[in-house]
Amino acid sequence: MNENVIEIKNLYVKLRDMVVLEDINLSVKRNDFLGIIGPNGGGKTTLLKTMLGIIKPYKGDIKIMGETPEKGREYIGYVPQYVFFDLKFPITVWEVVLTGRLNRTKYFKNYSKEDKEISEAALKQVEMEKYKNKKIGELSGGERQRVFVARALVSHPQILLLDEPMANVDSPREKEFYELLKKLKEQEKMTIILVSHDIGIISAYVDKIACINRKLYFHDSKEIKMDELMAVYGCPVDMIAHGIPHRVLKEHD
């Protein structure tokens, strides 16, 4: 089964009258592991938010599991780049993770036993079960990020969108985390889209790479072309390309 779980056609996104994404075309197949790279302000976060229906397209078409983003996001687990919240806000790690189950529970009801078991398991997966009853604002940045990963996993998503999920996480845990993603892809057949600045990590784990700076460069493969990389980053390739093995980087057509 090789259907497209995400299909984007001629997508334009404008934010405050500025074109942030221009003519994006992207198809992601079930069980793909896609890495997205690009410079700051390139539009990576905007692209993910458009897939989630948080940002509305100016033009073009976007389908998640064949549906509109508003409907299709039910199948998506999302780890945002930043979560803006008040560090004093009275909520525990446990309560945060449970909110990932919101669409699986009914109104007027408390979280079920199943919700709780699943949340417990997700906290174990990210090694945060010891912090269960701590206030979220009292954790370190990396610990917090791991809680948000658990929150994304508990809805048992078919698609996982991760916006620089490991930006603050120490390297042993980072490695474990990417192993976890690999497992989710292989065993649970998840489709994963990972935004990262770490081209080394990207090329070690993903099976396809897209490059974005307002425009998207994507060849449904793990290859990036040198001239495209230069166009995207606006600088000589050697400044960004150390982590990239030669099989990834391609000279020209």
Partner: protein, 264 residues
Amino acid sequence: MIESLQFEFFRNGLIGGVLASIACGIIGSYVVSKRIVFISGGISHACFGGIGIGYFLGFNPLFGALLFGVFSSFLMGEASLKAKEKEDTIIGVLWAVGMSLGIIFISLSKTYAPDLFSYLFGSILTITESDIKLMIFLDFFIFISVILFYKEFLAICFDEEFSRVRGLNVGFFYLFLLFLVALTTVLLLRVVGVILVIALLTIPSAIISQFFHSLKKIMLFSVLLGIFLMIAGLFLSYFLNLPSGATIVLLSSFCYLISLLLKR
């Protein structure tokens, strides 16, 4: 002290104070943690417009306040959801419009408005049996709503964007929360008046939230603290012969100051 309890107005005042504290502690906990103090101040002041219209057209000013409170909470909520960058200004304008409408309608009404002052600053001792019935009903409604939507309210207060991604109707729940703020304002009107509502809504929860980190506990202890402050303030005002609403607010503020020093 015992003889003061025998006066019916004093007893009604106490009961009213306790009823107001319940809504205050519950909704105040949301107001403080979600940091919607300003918007809540806007809603409570806009209510004054409704009070004026009530006087002018000759119906119970509390219903006028309810009408204006609900309507303005809706407008301000929409502004905050759809025009974030203008939110502050819109709230400020509605705040002032409500107060001005109130003054104009009161000056237009032929009858003299003797208890106008009590709507501005409250007069807990003029609370009537029918006020108490209305307060019980509003408390009950607020309590049930929060029990039914506890997890949804908590989720949108913490992270609106993620709640939206999880399919929650964030706009609806946010407006509903502001609607409950409007109801709480009406509940508090007779006790402390439009100008002082915001103090009672925020102070008990602000004190308690420094010491607990579960919203449920903050709600529970804010209610208890509110009841204590209300009763203590009422007796204080009785013995010192001072206006009740202002005394309660000053006592609460004093406790807040102490809690800040303790927490240092």
